[in-house]
Symmetry: C2
Subunit: 468 residues, 2 copies
């Protein structure tokens, strides 16, 4: 499925650069094949493209020194957090140096009174929430994987909680970034709002390492709600489930999570997580608020669901029950893969205006049902975002072609509805082919102009997001 890799020339790191980085980092610079291989892949189907070496950085200053050394000889730099991206973001398709920031896992400052935190880029979301446990605060963005917060900022990640708390776009207050020439900037102060010049924070959020390397992230935090309640409810059909979501959002219920899983996905979840949900289109919910507020939300959502034939709510109130429920949901991708031993998966990620969501999913399901491929639909439907997981035999060209055909139809359908080809996974290698249809040539030219302005030698994760 990888695209756009044809005409690229690897720019191999010269021995002198490797030696210079070895001097700087000692044992923390690795050229071992296994280490390079592990850093040349993410969780997607895109083929491995190992870097020439992996530099395990421990500070912003070290990242700056590595980038400076690479810039001097025009060698690419690819940042690496946990390798959980889904579009080949970390593949070193031009060769070069991978900067692994997983060792930059220090929580720099927690400021409960300002409800914000500054972390090094390698801190993962679970590590952060574990650290926050006694403060009464939490960081809500949850893409499923225990990704690094630097990586989540770089890909503009979101996930199940975004319908209430927003995405990384809304929750990053400031970044420390190493530029393509090794200079270090901070993109903003900690004030909650500012009109002091161009929004550099939002420029780097979602830039996927192509404009600079994110080394520190300052994030908004939220008070842990007084009451949290989760639920699962089966529906008679796809349209009934999705229309329940649409009406919930339009009514303004401040729901924290509202997730759709189709019949195939539920079957896969039951198989993988040993659950016994009815194998029909299903919604997973979570309500956050005061006791009274949650009760009010529940009452509204139950009434809406009942209008659409959804009456059999299963509730999860205790932390353990809620965790079990969301664990099953979070493993949906692996559950899908488990349905075809030896199969590989890839996932669409379209997002449409909510009024078009039912139509978009229903039409897509018709396509999928007419295919022999195993597919599963799961989605952050409160935002209009859903994924189709395609599971195929990587050695069977006909299955690969079928997955590509179905995926292209999902993307075309979403774009025709004024939607986007990627709600949260990012562009990487896999979505570059759709950006012109989504944004138009002239808007892509603006992106390319920004890329050239900030990275004139094209060394920052080259060949991703936007061609130059």
């Amino acid at each position: 499925m990888p695209e756009g890799t044809a005409a690229m020339t690897p720019r191999t790191a010269p021995d002198a650069l490797i030696a210079e980085l070895k001097d700087l980092l000692g044992e923390r610079l690795s050229t071992a094949a296994a280490v390079r291989e592990q850093h040349g892949r993410d969780e997607s189907f895109h083929p491995v493209a190992p870097p020439d070496a992996v530099a395990f950085a421990q500070s912003t200053e070290e990242v700056a020194a590595i980038v400076k050394a690479c810039a001097r000889v025009g060698v690419p730099v690819v940042a690496f957090g946990t390798g959980t991206s889904l579009e080949g973001h970390v593949a070193a398709i031009h060769g070069g140096i991978c900067i692994d920031v997983s060792g930059m896992n220090r929580i720099v400052a927690v400021r409960p009174e300002d409800m914000d935190v500054t972390v090094q880029a390698g801190v993962t979301r679970k590590q952060l929430n574990e650290h926050l446990r006694d403060t009464g605060l939490f960081f809500p963005i949850d893409p499923g994987a225990d990704a690094s917060l630097g990586g989540m900022a770089a890909t503009r990640a979101s996930g199940t909680n975004a319908v209430r708390y927003g995405t990384m776009r809304e929750n990053v207050l400031a970044l420390t970034v190493v530029l393509a020439d090794g200079r270090i900037i901070r993109t903003a102060r900690r004030a909650r709002k500012s009109a002091a010049g161009y929004d550099l924070t939002r420029l780097f959020v979602g830039s996927e390492g192509t404009l600079g390397v994110i080394t520190e992230v300052t994030l908004k935090l939220y008070g842990i709600p007084e009451a949290i309640l989760s639920a699962v409810c089966p529906f008679p059909g796809v349209a009934e489930a999705v229309n329940t979501v649409i009406q919930t959002i339009q009514t303004g219920v401040p729901i924290a999570r509202i997730e759709f899983l189709d019949d195939n996905q539920i079957r896969a979840v039951n198989n993988f997580s040993k659950t016994s949900y009815a194998e029909v289109p299903t919604l997973f919910f979570e309500f956050h608020g005061s006791d009274a507020g949650v009760a009010e939300q529940v009452e509204m959502v139950q009434a809406i669901a009942a209008e659409h034939g959804g009456t059999d709510f299963q509730w999860a109130r205790s932390t353990e029950d809620r965790e079990r429920l969301w664990h099953a949901r979070h493993n949906a991708y692996y559950a899908g893969l488990s349905m075809k031993p030896g199969g590989k998966g890839f996932s669409s990620d379209v997002c449409v205006p909510i009024s078009r969501l039912a139509e978009c999913i229903v039409e897509t399901k018709k396509d999928l049902e007419a295919s022999d491929l195993f597919t599963a639909v799961v989605g952050h439907v409160g935002d209009g975002n859903f994924h189709v997981l395609f599971v195929f035999d990587p050695d069977n060209p006909a299955e690969i072609a079928e997955a590509k055909r179905l995926n292209a139809r999902v993307v075309d359908r979403a774009l025709a509805m004024d939607g986007t080809c990627t709600g949260e996974h990012g562009v990487g290698l896999g979505k570059m082919q759709y950006l012109e249809a989504e944004h138009g040539r002239d808007a892509l030219d603006v992106m390319a102009a920004v890329k050239r302005a900030l990275d004139p030698a094209n060394i920052m994760n080259p060949g991703k997001v936007v061609g130059v």
Copy 2:
């Protein structure tokens, strides 16, 4: 108070350009002195700098044609909405053509089912909310002035509701923009979230016309709350009032508005709006939610206020009573000016992390009380944002110098607290001098690189935001 205007060379529009635009626009191209004068000023103290001509555009395509004509001869373009900016944003300090978009006042599409709307840039926020009246939806961002939505996007405006609903940064879904060479782009689709490339929407929001001219804006809308309740409460001192705000925010109360007015500001309001509030530090509140939700919020805020000596709540429930209350608040600027006949005003706009807010305002009040100048403090304190209005005799250099001295101290204090020099007014001419202290030279270089990449001939509102 204007800064940075010294070394600028006006690039006067040649007669041939004026003739070309006259051909294009007929009567809608004006070179009348009064029209030019009116378009060379905003509501600030910055001196008038009239453009060479004013083009009254009626469509995106017309704006594109005007920009193309200007680009061919390297003449500056300054976009103009309602002229209610506060930092000299529209002053044509290099000469050139002003594009007045106030005639682009068409509401292009209201989509209640998606809770969004697309408007031409000249639509004002009051016009939009009037139009939405029967839909049950509203657009919350309220900077006081009845500004154009294009201008609000261009300056990253916010105001009294931002504490709950965010600023223009969070509420613009997509923009149509005319680039510096006259090409037209749309920055994003209408999906609520997207990870499809660089965030062009956020790049243009807050760029103050220096990267392109915004011609259409797609905005999020919100359901009008079931219950709205406003209140005014006096406090024994500045610290008590501000600490009530801090605790309210830290408790996570989803308050819609929480505004601070100091004793001088209340005195000015009483004088100007014929109200009779106690002339002490005061908070103005607004609560949005369900009936039960508002009751719960009120209970929590009353308890917090009582701990800080704020017990005398005056409630406003009916639309008329609430409008009277907020009308008084919105006229705070004019009320302040009324305290010194013939006086001119300018306003600081710092924003700090909320934990530092009480200290910042208390220290600032000490400075102000030691001065003979009339000053008033008013703020969107839920965000950490407040304004000091300095009122002075424009013919008295000592008073001007004193205002500048006090203002510089407020900015320095905010920056030392990891705050910003401008929370919502934008940079324009007046704040350029503070950007290096706020962002550092290297981050400013990134802004300048972006500016040069998108506007290589420096014709888009030149001399504002960032020097190139």
